[in-house]
């Protein structure tokens, strides 16, 4: 590399060592060999970080620089803190990446045996909640801001003075924090008439009640999908939203991978009424009406019982349909697992009954380890409403439960709460309940909070703040401590609580060093449980069976409510990352809609976007292959009216359609009132064509074929490889040559990678209207195709394929850029020089994979033209900008961007290895998508390193490249999808062969 002199002095003295100003670490002899470019990078880092630090949002009170720099803080170098994600649904152990005081990324905690570092889209996106300007910023009374002192004193006084005949109710979300539970216990002790009621945004009451009948305790046992060879699911979307989807995905794919010589696949049979993420991954899928689900379960029970010579129950009516399933279950015996997503206690009882018959309890279901999530009880909530209405409740303290939205019958709640004298809302969000409550006590975001979690009994994790509260908020424990009048910080309380109650139970605590510090650093702790083992007590299912069999069949249309993978229960509905995340099934974002099958759409004359009204809730129609022809499905979690910088209400809240009295919440209902409105509404979709058109894009095979020939379904690859001719030689990649592998068998389509990529790479959010115009900016997308035999909807199958820049060694895009803004690196990366890009979009036209994205507008204010910013999602506010990754350029209007293989991560790890003087370890570099993936479907590495995992995968007969016949030589490779079915999947795909 040429040396340039930058001053006369330098010229005279010869070019000076550029590294004189660098920190000592870099000045190691290794670093002396570093190039000038490296110097610029270090220099850039320090300047950038100085700027970032200087512009920090916190009010500067002590403007004194750090005289002695804390050891752990180095400008420009990220620190990671272990914590736990929990916002009322699943709980995931995480690591929070903090750069220069700002949390900028959430990763999974690889030490967790439950997730092994996996995350979900929601976990990834939850980071943005921290920088949400719409959060309550101060305590308030009747919407007037007050001080914490006053708020605490007032609330305490009101509670203390509450008449004894009035109950006070603490309406919480499910509390999985042991320390918080202890505080609530203390509160109960202090106020004996305090009653805790748990409200979950999505009810699992039926499951708990069923186990309450069977084992005597309202538990949810842990399900072990990794131990199951046969999974039969009745509408349980366990890969998407059911209970612990991140954990279950991790477990599920353990038996779906065919690497390391594994020759077995688990089998997954799915019964459901609409197309869910989990259903779309199933090997066999039965499309049933939700009202028939119980009868299918009953039929299955009978078939299993019959074969085992056990007494059968009332007829379900579908015995013949499930005969084969029963047979398979019997073959798999205790290695089978039957789950149901029903909230009907009776159905769950029957499911448990089947599992008992098969011996799954104790094998694939662990009764002794509970899932502590979703402790809500539907009848308790109804009682609460009753007592509020009767006026017997004197005080209602809502703790992160947001009843005004989450209550099954939110309408009644709004009436009921008016009868309550003292209302307090402890919340981190400016939610619907706040406007109904007198006092609002702002809780900190979980990234600002001390806390702990025990999602699965015995598996504890800690939550620690990674930033000082941005607003005048306090963590929930602190608020509770205040209410208790205890003068102790939440940190001290947590420390003491753990020291006293938890660490002693730990199986692996080390007495010689501070166990607390170790635990805090690791974020995780396993403890032994001294509960007595549970067992099946009650096996009498006849009443359950008779109830199920007596359910009337409905002839008409039925409506199913489900949680969508991106938005879930709606807790994070104001998170633009999640709203812009296309649903993995429909690939629609920014709205909910009524999904109908093509048959039903034809029958009714509906087209996609026609607005229909069901019981006065108007939503557009989406035509969804795979729905039962008499089923309309609609997502929960929309229509939230919380205030924010963008007060727009996204979608409609459909909970009112599912209000039922006395029987617990049912997430399906018969449709009584359906009307066409004659209006249309354009849904924002990111994919409008759903067939592969006979092209060998996603290659798949069946297990039986795979066992005969591992290259089955991928015969084309060898042929194409054989015919690869070129008019010029390949460039040599002497150092690293990066490659990425995507195992289509492992990928469930959960979209965690997409959000991880968005967060890591500062991908702009463009809003609904821009998505409608196909202007979405995601660097990584998960294509979803349907395959179906002609006129046979039952043969419908779903395939998915994550597609990002393929980093072709013969990249058609690079050839055509007039200004050399996109070139190939010496390590095989297709790189973009944003500064150089003039935005002809020629590269994008020429990209056969269409993975390049153009900045159509000034989405983030990186443009020098004033007043032209197009940021409908409010992502470029001063506060939200703090989430930007300083290692990744924010792209200006008019330039092309795309996946960079997380070049910043590659460079960081290369530099680490260089400073450590060690060779780069295979696997040290993880791209954001790879790291976020709960299924570990993505592998990244150096194909020049013979020992690397990717080098081994290069030899996998399942390997193929997308559009490899074009000889673009992609660095991204896919492994064929293998389904656990018997039939031959590849009836000669429509492709050509050469002689």
């Amino acid at each position: 590399m040429k040396k340039y002199w930058k001053s006369i002095e330098e010229y005279e003295d010869g070019v000076k060592d550029d590294h004189a100003h660098l920190p000592n670490k870099i000045q190691a002899s290794e670093a002396l060999k570093a190039s000038r470019r490296d110097f610029l990078k270090y220099f850039g880092f320090s300047v950038a970080s100085a700027a970032v630090l200087a512009s920090c949002e916190r009010p500067v009170k002590k403007a004194i620089p750090l005289l002695i720099q804390p050891e752990e803080i180095r400008p420009g170098i990220a620190s990671y803190y272990a914590s736990t994600f929990y916002v009322g649904s699943e709980a995931v152990p995480i690591l929070v990446k903090v750069r220069d005081g700002r949390p900028i990324k959430i990763e999974g905690n690889e030490s967790s045996v439950m997730t092994r570092g996996g995350t979900s889209a929601q976990v990834q996106a939850s980071l943005l909640g921290l920088y949400d300007e719409s959060r309550p910023k101060n305590p308030s009374f009747n919407k007037e801001e007050i001080t914490w002192d006053k708020a605490n004193a007032d609330v305490k006084e009101a509670l203390d003075n509450l008449p004894a005949d009035k109950t006070m109710v603490l309406l919480t979300a499910t509390v999985i924090s042991p320390s918080q539970k202890a505080l609530i216990q203390k509160l109960k002790t202090k106020y004996p008439n305090l009653k805790q009621v748990t409200l979950d945004p999505y009810s699992y009451s039926g499951l708990r009640e069923a186990y309450s009948d069977i084992v005597g305790e309202a538990i949810i046992p842990t399900f072990r999908f990794d131990k199951a060879e046969l999974i039969v699911s009745f509408g349980a979307d366990f890969l998407g939203t059911w209970l612990l989807p991140t954990v279950f995905t991790h477990q599920y794919v353990q038996n779906r991978k065919l690497d390391n010589g594994q020759k077995k696949l688990s089998k997954h049979i799915h019964f459901e009424g609409f197309m869910s993420l989990t259903g779309s991954n199933a090997d066999e899928r039965f499309v049933i009406k939700p009202s028939e689900e119980g009868k299918y379960v009953l039929s299955l029970y009978n078939e299993v019982a019959k074969s085992q010579g056990l007494p059968t129950l009332d007829k379900g009516g579908f015995e013949s349909a499930v005969k084969e399933v029963a047979q398979q279950l019997l073959n798999a015996k205790s290695a089978s697992l039957v789950v149901s997503g029903s909230n009907d206690k009776n159905v769950q009882l029957l499911v448990a009954g089947i599992n008992t018959m098969l011996g799954a309890h104790g094998s694939t279901i662990d009764l002794n380890q509970d899932i502590n999530l979703y402790q809500g009880n539907d009848s308790a909530l109804e009682q609460l409403l009753q007592s509020c209405k009767q006026g017997s409740v004197g005080a209602l303290i809502c703790l992160e439960s947001n009843p005004a939205y989450n209550m099954p019958d939110a309408g009644s709640f709004k009436e009921a709460i008016e009868k309550v004298g003292l209302t307090v809302n402890i919340t981190a969000q400016n939610d619907e309940t706040s406007s109904l409550c007198k006092y609002v006590l702002p809780a900190s975001h979980f990234l600002e909070s001390w806390g702990d979690a025990e999602a699965v009994s015995g598996m504890l994790s800690l939550t620690q703040p990674v930033i000082r509260p941005i607003y005048n908020t306090r963590d929930v424990n602190q608020i509770l401590l205040n209410l208790l009048g205890e003068d102790i910080s939440s940190y001290d309380y947590l420390h003491q609580h753990w020291q006293k109650n938890i660490i002693p139970q730990s199986t692996d605590s080390n007495p010689f060093i501070s166990a607390w510090k170790v635990t805090l650093s690791a974020g995780l702790l396993s403890v032994t449980m001294d509960k007595k083992p549970k067992s099946i007590l009650n096996t009498n299912l006849s009443s359950a069976a008779s109830k199920v069999s007596s359910d009337k069949n409905t002839d008409g249309l039925e409506l199913i409510a489900y949680q969508s993978v991106p938005v879930g229960d709606g807790k994070m509905a104001n998170n633009p990352w999640l709203q812009e995340l296309p649903d993995p099934v429909s690939r629609v974002c920014w709205d909910n809609y009524f999904s109908v099958s093509p048959t039903l759409a034809d029958e009714k004359g509906w087209k996609q976007g026609d607005v229909i009204s069901i019981s006065n809730i108007e939503l557009p129609v989406f035509v969804q292959p795979g729905n039962h022809h008499q089923v309309i499905s609609v997502a929960l979690g929309y229509g939230r009216t919380m205030e924010g910088p963008k007060p727009e209400v996204i979608g409609k809240d459909v909970k009112p359609l599912f209000v039922s009295k006395g029987t617990g919440v049912k997430y399906h209902t018969a449709i009584a009132d359906i009307k066409n409105t004659g209006r249309t509404y354009e849904l924002a979709t990111t994919q409008s064509h759903h067939s592969m058109e006979g092209r060998a894009i996603v290659r798949e095979t069946s297990l039986s074929e795979y066992l005969k020939d591992p290259a089955s379904g991928n015969e084309m690859h060898a042929e194409i490889e054989k015919l690869h001719t070129s008019l010029y030689d390949k460039h040599e990649y002497k150092g690293h040559h990066w490659a990425m592998f995507i195992d289509l068998n492992s990928c469930t389509g959960c979209n965690a990678c997409v959000v991880a990529c968005n967060v890591e790479n500062n991908v702009p959010v463009v809003g609904r209207n821009e998505v409608r115009r196909s202007h979405e900016m995601h660097w990584l997308r998960i294509d979803r195709y349907y395959t179906q035999a002609p006129n046979d909807p039952s043969s419908l199958r779903v395939v998915r394929q994550p597609v990002m820049c393929q980093h072709c060694d013969n990249a058609p895009c690079e050839n055509v850029c007039p200004v050399a803004a996109t070139t190939h690196s010496s390590e095989g990366i297709n790189q973009m020089a944003y500064n150089r890009c003039i935005g002809t979009r020629y590269c994008n036209n020429n990209c056969p994979y269409k993975v390049r994205r153009f900045n159509w507008y000034d989405y983030n204010g990186a443009d020098s033209i004033p007043y032209n910013r197009k940021d409908p999602a409010g992502m470029s506010t001063d506060l939200k900008r703090l989430v930007l990754n300083p290692d990744v350029t924010v792209r200006a209007k008019g330039v092309i961007e795309k996946c960079s293989f997380c070049i910043q991560r590659i460079q960081e790890k290369k530099l680490d290895a260089k400073t450590a003087g060690e060779p780069l370890r295979d696997g040290a570099i993880q791209t954001a998508c790879q790291q976020g993936c709960p299924a570990k479907a993505i592998t990244f590495g150096d194909m020049n390193d013979e020992k690397s995992v990717v080098s081994k995968m290069m030899k996998d007969p399942r390997r193929y490249h997308l559009l490899e016949e074009l000889h673009t030589l992609p660095s991204v490779a896919y492994l064929t999808k293998v389904r656990n079915i018997e039939e031959k999947l590849n009836a000669e795909p429509e492709h050509k062969t050469h002689s």
Binding site: Y728, D809, A811, E814, N815, A820, H824
Partner: protein, 179 residues
């Protein structure tokens, strides 16, 4: 000292013009210039004008342009900063062809026009003698330069005799360097 006087004979037809020129030349009078409103066919033969060397200029300039363009592209791609574009070789000859061709044409065309203008003394603001303004419309003019004043009468006569409809004596105010 040479005089700068001219005698001009005006004609209204190109065929007559050519005939007249031949006759004048037969009489041993050197024709200084002929002004015509359009390129008269056969005039350069009669006047024995040498074939222009512009083609050679065009060829040389074109060759320079082409070679420069090809060299520059090769130098940039192989020496200055070899970049890997889509796996193409650094010395990617087919890619250099279009620009090489265009530069060849550009250099040749510009040099031709510039050469033509310089050689002819034409250009923005060039002021050449206009003997008769009608010669750019429909008149043809034979110009004889008088080197020896004694000849002028004879020339006058000859011009009239070969059919010139107007014969004039012209004393231009400016030196006519580029006629």
């Amino acid at each position: 000292m040479k005089s700068n006087n001219y005698i001009t004979g005006l004609f209204w037809d190109d065929t007559e013009l050519i005939k007249a020129i031949k006759e004048i030349q037969d009489k041993g009078i050197a024709i200084f210039d002929v002004r015509t409103p359009f390129p008269v066919h056969g005039l350069d033969d009669v006047l024995k004008l040498k074939r222009s060397r512009l083609p050679r200029l065009g060829f040389v300039a074109g060759a320079i342009g082409g070679i420069l363009a090809f060299w520059f592209q090769s130098w940039v791609f192989t020496t200055s900063w070899p970049l890997n574009f889509g796996g193409k070789p650094f010395f990617s000859v087919p890619s250099f062809i279009p620009v090489t061709f265009e530069m060849t044409v550009l250099f040749a065309a510009i040099s031709l026009v510039v050469g033509f203008l310089i050689k002819s003394g034409l250009g923005p603001g060039a002021e050449n003698i206009i003997f008769d303004e009608r010669t750019t419309d429909d008149a043809f003019l034979i110009v004889v330069k008088i080197t020896d004043n004694s000849q002028s009468d004879n020339i006058f006569e000859v011009l009239t005799s070969v059919g010139a409809s107007e014969v004039k004596h012209v004393e231009p105010t400016k030196t006519d360097t580029h006629a």
